[in-house]
Symmetry: C2
Subunit: 299 residues, 2 copies
Amino acid sequence: MSLFHGLSAFPITPADDHGVVDVEGVMRLTAHLSAAGVDSIGLLGSTGIYAYLTRAERRRAIRAAVQSVGGRTPLVIGIGTLRTDDAQALARDAEAEGADGLLMAPVSYTPLTQEEAYRHYAAVAGATHLPLCIYNNPSTTHFTFGTDLLERLAGIPTIAAVKMPPPPEGSVADELARLRAGPVGKLSIGYSGDWIAAEALLAGCDGWFSVLGGFLPTLARTLVTAARNGDAATVRHCNARLQPLWALFRAFGSLRVAYAAIHHLGLSEAQPPRPLLPLPDPDRQKVAEALRACTEEQA
Amino acid sequence: MSLFHGLSAFPITPADDHGVVDVEGVMRLTAHLSAAGVDSIGLLGSTGIYAYLTRAERRRAIRAAVQSVGGRTPLVIGIGTLRTDDAQALARDAEAEGADGLLMAPVSYTPLTQEEAYRHYAAVAGATHLPLCIYNNPSTTHFTFGTDLLERLAGIPTIAAVKMPPPPEGSVADELARLRAGPVGKLSIGYSGDWIAAEALLAGCDGWFSVLGGFLPTLARTLVTAARNGDAATVRHCNARLQPLWALFRAFGSLRVAYAAIHHLGLSEAQPPRPLLPLPDPDRQKVAEALRACTEEQA
């Protein structure tokens, strides 16, 4: 199975108030995910606060994860940053530390044109030999990939996958069929936005880039395995029990909910970087209830 | 006249391909603006590529500007960054270098809640004694300030001004009257988005945060002075001649047009930071024509 297939679990990156990564914490979380049998770990994704960490701290996190699970579970590293030269340096750092793949969002301050995004990806994809996944996440980056741009990017040798957001309209199945019929079809096509994961898995997408997988990897695996076996009833049953959690992801942002869930499950005491605030107590209570709803048949 | 009144000119920050600031270039550009009699210089604004420069390079730029014009023309420094602790450090750097004021946008990766933005501003405003201007720029930051939030922020002692974007609906005059009638009225209220500057100046706003002022400061001063003298005919006449330039600002983004204009005027050879690309030749030609249209009666 290729690097960008199956369940990719996106953990938080525990760090202190000054953005110093807790390497023991990274090792513990990644070991937990590896032991649960996830297909890859998406280190330094959005939930892994890549945007809030310096180059040096990102590198320390990668080193810790490689030390903890390298060779057992593939590591895909988020390398998004504003400047092209900085993104190239982050890609080279990931390769030097022994990571297996790269994930890059078109983060911007001045909004990017399609041509600027193309050249940015081409320059970064050419900086290492690692396979790269396009991180298409318009709700965070506010960048929209045109079909032409995705098709051009699919022609770059080291670009191997695309991480798609929930479709703005229409079904995942329709979007997937359209993408696979064209030049983008040579890429692995995975989805994020956990609340559409069941739909995307049943539609036969290649991978699920999962926030849930970062703290409940066994439950996330259950969905992926059931979908792979054509067991739609189990996928729908799990997904129904996850509705309260998906509602909180959408209401509070999946990052804030992930931190609260990780605290509740005793996996880490880390807090999100300021200005992001931990959820207040009543909302943390809702997270605890949503976790009970989706896990009481588990374990 | 207070720091955030009148014409605030926003120059580019010349830097090389690796993000190293050209301190001679900064000194030359700021001296040019100071000699033209702008009321303040907005160093490291959006046009001044603050988001693309490291803390050390931002500090070098401030030092160069203070050395060039400090004490003659007030310097307002853009200090936006993702982390609260980093923004506090940038504020302290600006104060230590002898700047006169701060400008901060609520830049984010994970979208901020109103409460998170409030605490971010409170923490940064409390880090120095410098007056701070709220940089309200939803088209770049994708953060929307609610009325409640602006009113709460107006109560923080060192918050002195707000830089407003073009109103999403209704006139600047109506928005200004509404803001001045409430708690936000204790702040200086200025506008950005050069294409609505004439309207905002004629409506009696306190300041114009101007990209045009960063490369044609004399023309920008003509508008501000005419508006201050109640000479609406001159404001409208200038503004009519600026329409081709405003159209290009809106089509290509004012930053890309500012670079092309600065090249055409011989003020700097600097290029924007990759992934941002210089305008291609045909579009640079349009910029040259728009500059001719607005300047042929000048000089």
